[in-house]
């Protein structure tokens, strides 16, 4: 890529990403990452989770600072509402993963983004989690994401950014495909 001709900057270092892609294709061990979180019960349905360390590129790594997330249930669930619900965190996860992807793909394709915003909605029949009906699943029946994007590109090119972002999104994959979850008690 010719650096001197780079006119579009969405703030994503695509050269680094492309370099990483090439290097890691040849060194799969270094590509093995482990993302982590710890969680502490506070009271009632309120818990506090922290994210700081992770594993990747063959070594333990740390974020610049520790991140903290309070989660709870709302008052209509007879709770204290000290934080967003766990399922809302999932929507945040999906939104942030897709949005980051849109920025990266746009930069790679030299498309200038002026604004990107998304609204998400996960539909849920709460009889599932309340155990009121075993035919009803616990999780979302479906998730809808609506993007509004203002960019220097045709409508099809913008749709293609969003489609490509889904194709390469970790959270989209986690949500749309089965994932093994093993919970142990020590």
């Amino acid at each position: 890529m010719d650096m001197s001709q780079k006119t579009v900057d969405n703030g994503v270092n695509v050269e680094a990403l492309l370099g990483a892609r090439e290097a890691l294709a040849k060194a799969p061990q270094a590509a093995q990452f482990k993302w982590r979180a710890t969680c502490k019960w506070m009271n009632g349905t309120h818990s506090r989770s922290t994210v700081e360390g992770f594993y990747g590129l063959g070594d333990e790594q740390k974020h610049k600072t520790q991140f903290t997330f309070d989660a709870d249930h709302p008052e209509i669930f007879a709770s204290q509402d000290k934080g967003a619900t766990p399922v809302e965190f999932v929507l945040v996860g999906l939104a942030s993963c897709l949005t980051a992807g849109i920025a990266a793909v746009a930069q790679l394709r030299q498309i200038k983004l002026r604004s990107v915003s998304a609204t998400l909605q996960g539909s849920m029949d709460v009889r599932g989690i309340l155990g009121a009906d075993t035919d009803v699943r616990n999780g979302f029946d479906g998730i809808e994401v609506i993007y509004n994007i203002d960019a220097d590109a045709s409508p099809d090119d913008i749709k293609a950014l969003v489609a490509q972002s889904q194709k390469r999104s970790a959270v989209y994959d986690i949500l749309t495909n089965p994932t093994n979850v093993r919970v142990e008690v020590q």
Binding site: G142, D156, A163, Y172, L175, T176, N177, P178
Partner: protein
């Protein structure tokens, strides 16, 4: 390649594990037709001469076509000579079949990319009562149970098989991952004609952005039906095929399908639009607009609001599963270190990392059309130039005449 070598008076033999056109004879379903029009199957010195250039050859016609070519060029074919090992020797290569051992200076690997059917590991979790076939084993709907059929894979093979089985009166469910959607006909001309004239098929392997991705792409959702109908997902839905996402898992007898169906369809629609855009631009630049029907686009792929994510395979609704999940080459006999970490032969436009050895018949080997019969000729021409020049250099170094030798008597 044989024809090109003969033109250069290079002594050679063609080793075939079965009969000429073996795969066409033994590993294709009954009603299959080529998805490339007859005019497009051009081999060196051999063009279509029949009266239906825009038609699509049946399997019998394809077999005859290949057999006739072999006879025409007097190809030195040894049939029923499966190679059991190929390795380097002191001054070249030693190729063993059950009947003979061959010593040669150069080798062309032409066994193609489709020797072994790929079946996902999760097939082992399919309940025993359900019949399973690979696309290579499938022959016709009449040989299937009368119940529902799950076709896994929506490329050329999967869509054609789904179409045929649904029309036979069996309910088909089609599991769809990433795919490539194309029309059969656009603005009055066949899509292969457009891709040929607009230079799409001539795109070179060293000119594409991501050759690995392109070489791993699935085949176009295209078929050679005499009525020239499309076999895209909208066409299949319109005859009653039920679409679900990619088969992602089987747990407790329940098949799980990905929730990504909507996006893979969106990706395919966008890609088709880009291809048609390329065609429209070429047509306009080359002054064809006046003579042709105007540019247009196709209806987006219709996906229901909430496609099923689970099918209980124990319910009896599905009686047969057909794996249209691709193929891979068989290199169990190849004892030369040529492979990447996934077991594929590394090559640079067909030239591999062992002197005097070449590979042909792989997707996008040198050009996009390398995947087609029509691409074999140009690939053979290019590689035979390299091969001939290699032989000339080798002859200068080794004073001994380099000739193909067959040792050990044949039984």
């Amino acid at each position: 390649m044989s024809r090109c070598l003969a033109e250069r008076s290079i002594d050679h033999v063609v080793l075939e594990r079965g009969e000429i056109a073996n795969s066409w004879k033994t590993e294709r379903w009954d009603s299959l037709r080529l998805l490339t029009p007859n005019w497009q199957s051009r081999l060196p010195g051999y063009e279509y001469q029949g009266d239906d250039p825009d038609g699509f050859r049946t399997m019998l016609e394809t077999i005859e076509f290949i057999e006739r070519y072999a006879k025409l060029i007097a190809a030195p074919v040894q049939t029923h000579s499966a190679v059991i090992s190929a390795r380097r020797s002191d001054n070249g290569y030693e190729i063993r079949t059950r009947q003979a051992t061959w010593h040669c200076d150069t080798v062309v690997l032409a066994n193609g990319a489709c020797n072994i059917s790929q079946v996902p590991a999760l097939a082992s979790a399919v309940p025993a009562r359900i019949a399973m076939l690979t696309a290579a084993e499938y022959r016709s709907p009449t040989r299937l149970d009368s119940g529902g059929v799950l076709v896994v894979g929506a490329s050329a093979t999967g869509t054609q098989i789904a179409d045929e089985i649904q029309r036979s009166g069996r309910k088909v469910t089609l599991a769809v991952g990433e795919h490539i959607r194309v029309p059969r006909t656009y603005r009055g001309k066949d899509i292969q004609w457009w891709m040929d004239v607009a230079g799409v098929l001539d795109e070179r392997y060293d000119q594409v952005d991501d050759i690995v991705r392109v070489r791993n792409s699935s085949s176009l959702q295209l078929a050679g039906y005499p009525d020239r109908r499309m076999t895209d997902l909208n066409s299949l839905s319109s005859i009653g095929v039920k679409l679900v996402g990619r088969l992602a898992g089987i747990v407790g007898g329940k098949a799980q399908f990905s929730g990504s169906l909507r996006n893979v369809c969106a990706l395919a629609d966008l890609k088709m639009s880009r291809l048609l855009g390329t065609i429209d631009e070429w047509a306009s630049t080359n002054g064809l607009d006046a003579k042709m029907s105007p540019p247009h686009r196709f209806e987006p792929t219709g996906v229901e609001a909430s496609p099923p994510l689970v099918i209980d395979l124990r319910s009896g609704d599905i009686r047969t599963i057909i794996w249209a999940t691709g193929y891979r080459p068989n290199y169990s006999w190849l004892e030369v270190p040529l492979f990447d970490h996934k077991g594929y032969v590394r090559h640079d436009g067909g030239i591999v990392q062992s002197p005097g050895m070449y590979i042909m018949g792989m997707p996008f080997l040198r050009r996009r059309k390398s995947t087609l019969i029509d691409g074999a000729g140009d690939d053979a021409r290019d590689l035979s130039i390299h091969l001939a020049s290699y032989l000339r250099r080798k002859c200068r170094v080794l004073p001994r005449a380099t000739r193909l030798r067959e040792s050990t008597s044949r039984r």
